[in-house]
């Protein structure tokens, strides 16, 4: 009786989200038509004064950053040989792959002439950070696709290609870590060229380093959140014995990040900006206080870290702080110099939400039909390993 009721609730919840997703897709389809028929001006609130908006600030900067869990975990498991974290590598790599696909999808909306996206392959300008970004997106998406292949081999029981693929594991992981390091930091480097436009609360020559460190922190936060969400959606248990040590790493990473941010603040005199808390000052305080200082303090306590609720709250704050940081750099910090206030249009928001929805849908489909989570693997009793999972002999 009680059991049926819960089942009923769960079914209706799934139905609700499916309806939301359907509406989102429909809306996104409409925006796509307007975008391609009438151009960016008709779709977005972008202008010559404010040429980069939500699609760059959220879809690209956040999409790439939140995918950082994959390279962190592949390095932890395959290079540092901490095998016990292996069960959460696959969902992290899958998330990153989907994230990168969505970044590319976002670019297909944002670029003025998206059908020329391949130009960076042919026309080179190695002095451009954007050129580096373009190559990192292409190469790392390819690496992530390859890193996902063993899952497919396993699903269709293709043992021979799977064994052959094991030889590629180490080089792939190393290339993936290098590309990610370059890509995460280069997104920060993009803003090095605008010392006259980006607000001093955020502008610093350390931007590439800060972008990299915060992505590592938020990538771990995403892995924790993702475990929580899949636990809710698929009735899995929360791997607390793996997530708790990860949270400790996250505290250290974000601690370093927070100290660097404060040091930058003291150095470039941004601290004066905080004394009278203007628009930029309060956004900065909110970002750093809520998104970095608070979760670091919370998760420093073992009692918070070891309780599922505390852990997930902390991870959520970290991810929230990360998103706020990227939007502050790309929007809040650029508004004063642009002389305009930028608020994304409904259509811009719809596309960003639609892409997030697509990500969720693709992840849950993959989780349903592919051996992403350990309990879905065909045979237990594994020995040896390959990229994303144990090899059964």
């Amino acid at each position: 009786m009680n059991h049926t009721a819960t089942l009923g609730v769960r079914l209706s919840r799934v139905g609700f989200w499916q309806a939301v997703f359907g509406l989102l897709l429909l809306g996104m389809g409409g925006v796509t038509v307007v975008r391609y028929m009438r151009g960016l001006g008709a779709t977005t609130n972008l202008s010559d004064a404010f040429p980069w908006g939500l699609w760059i600030g959220f879809d690209v900067l956040c999409g790439v950053g939140l995918a950082a869990g994959a390279f962190t975990l592949t390095a932890v498991v395959h290079l540092f040989n901490l095998r016990r974290f292996e069960p959460i590598v696959r969902p992290a790599v899958l998330t990153a792959f989907l994230g990168y696909l969505l970044v590319i999808a976002g670019l297909l909306f944002d670029l003025g002439q998206p059908w020329r996206i391949w130009h960076a392959l042919v026309f080179w300008n190695p002095r451009s950070v954007m050129f580096e970004v373009a190559w990192c997106v292409m190469l790392y998406t390819a690496v992530l696709a390859l890193e996902c292949l063993p899952v497919v081999f396993e699903r269709f029981r293709l043992e021979r290609p799977r064994r052959l693929f094991r030889l590629l594991t180490t080089p792939l992981v190393i290339v993936g870590v290098i590309l990610s390091t370059l890509h995460q930091s280069s997104l920060g480097s993009l803003y090095l060229i605008v010392p006259l436009k980006l607000h001093p609360l955020w502008y610093t020559p350390l931007l590439p380093l800060l972008f990299f460190i915060s992505a590592v922190g938020a990538g771990i936060g995403m892995v924790i959140l993702e475990s929580y969400l899949s636990q809710r959606a698929f009735g899995r248990h929360l791997e607390m014995e793996l997530l708790e040590p990860l949270a400790r790493v996250m505290v250290v990473v974000l601690g370093v990040y927070g100290l660097l941010r404060i040091q930058v603040l003291l150095r470039n005199g941004g601290i004066a900006e905080l004394r009278h808390l203007g628009y930029e000052g309060s956004m900065f305080a909110l970002e750093l206080g809520l998104g970095t200082v608070l979760p670091v303090l919370l998760l420093a306590f073992a009692r918070v870290r070891t309780s599922p609720k505390g852990l997930v709250t902390g991870a959520f704050l970290v991810v929230l702080g990360f998103v706020m940081n990227r939007l502050n750099v790309s929007v809040t910090g650029m508004e004063a110099a642009a002389g305009v206030r930028y608020v994304p249009s409904g259509m811009e928001i719809l596309v960003s939400l639609g892409l997030v929805g697509l990500g969720f849908a693709a992840f849950s489909l993959a989780a349903r039909y592919l051996p992403i989570f350990p309990e879905k693997r065909p045979r237990p009793g594994a020995r040896g390993e390959d990229l994303l999972g144990p090899v059964e002999d």
Binding site: H119, N125, M130, A337
Partner: protein
């Protein structure tokens, strides 16, 4: 030798002949808009009683050229910073990065491109002055070799220190520009970003970009080294636990080592 323009705001009467000539020369649609757009590449604005021209400054080390991922923007040897619309993917990084806010986008088009002054590249390469300089009735916009223009600007300031502020705008700003300006009021109040650094902005990103080759090599070696150590540790553990038998090479080297120890008299006694 590279060419440029010298704009003397004290001689400008804001007649708009430069804007009109620019439209005609570059086949741009009318009307002449009040600010720079993708379709209006130069305008005259009045700021603090000074008539000041807006146009591409044609930096000696242009920010837009450095940021363009596909090399659609190029600084030619003669001076103009030109744009190849066929390469442009529309990332709009040039619009973001330009310290003078010059490149503009065709936001109203389904197939948009960037619009900006190209210093009448074809005319200049054919040895003619730019359309705006030819059209200017008062000589406020002067075309010539940049070095000659700098000398001219210096002598004008020297001759009338009461009229001009002692500042050739574009001589040093962001590493120097091909377009130079003189004014009777400080340039800070005329709509330029203030203060503009003396160094070229592309340096800022190059400092990060130039480290990439080293980073890739070092990270590659470091990461492989870490893997080597952890994998070796795993292997030694497995051999010690007799889960794995050592390979032929390891077995051979182990035997050779024990022979060497015995021969050199360094046999460990229990």
């Amino acid at each position: 030798m590279s060419v440029g323009l010298l704009f003397d705001a004290t001689r400008c009467i804001a007649c708009g002949a430069c804007s009109a000539a620019c439209k005609e020369q570059n086949n741009l649609p009318l009307p002449i808009e009040p600010t720079l757009t993708a379709y209006t590449w130069t305008v005259v604005r009045e700021r603090q009683g000074v008539n000041i021209r807006s146009l591409c400054m044609h930096c000696l080390e242009p920010t837009c050229v450095s940021v363009c991922p596909v090399g659609a923007l190029v600084k030619t040897a003669r001076g103009p910073v030109v744009y190849d619309a066929a390469k442009c993917i529309g990332c709009r990084y040039c619009i973001m990065a330009c310290p003078f806010g010059v490149p503009k986008y065709q936001w109203d088009r389904a197939i948009p491109i960037v619009g900006k002054c190209i210093l009448c590249r074809e005319r200049v390469e054919a040895g003619m002055p730019t359309a705006c300089a030819s059209a200017c009735p008062t000589g406020a916009t002067l075309f010539g070799e940049r070095e000659a223009l700098v000398r001219e600007a210096r002598s004008r300031i020297h001759g009338r220190p009461d009229l001009y502020v002692d500042h050739i705008f574009g001589l040093e700003e962001v590493g120097g520009t091909s377009v130079l300006m003189l004014s009777s009021a400080p340039f800070e109040g005329l709509g330029f970003k203030n203060p503009l650094p003396k160094h070229p902005l592309p340096m800022l990103t190059w400092q990060a970009l130039s480290k990439i080759p080293d980073l890739v090599l070092m990270a590659g070696v470091l990461l492989y080294g870490i893997h080597w150590i952890t994998a070796r540790r795993e292997y030694v553990r497995a051999v010690a636990a007799r889960e794995v038998s050592p390979g032929p090479a390891a077995a051979l080297s182990g035997w050779l080592r024990s022979v060497w120890r015995r021969l050199s008299g360094r046999v460990e006694r229990p």
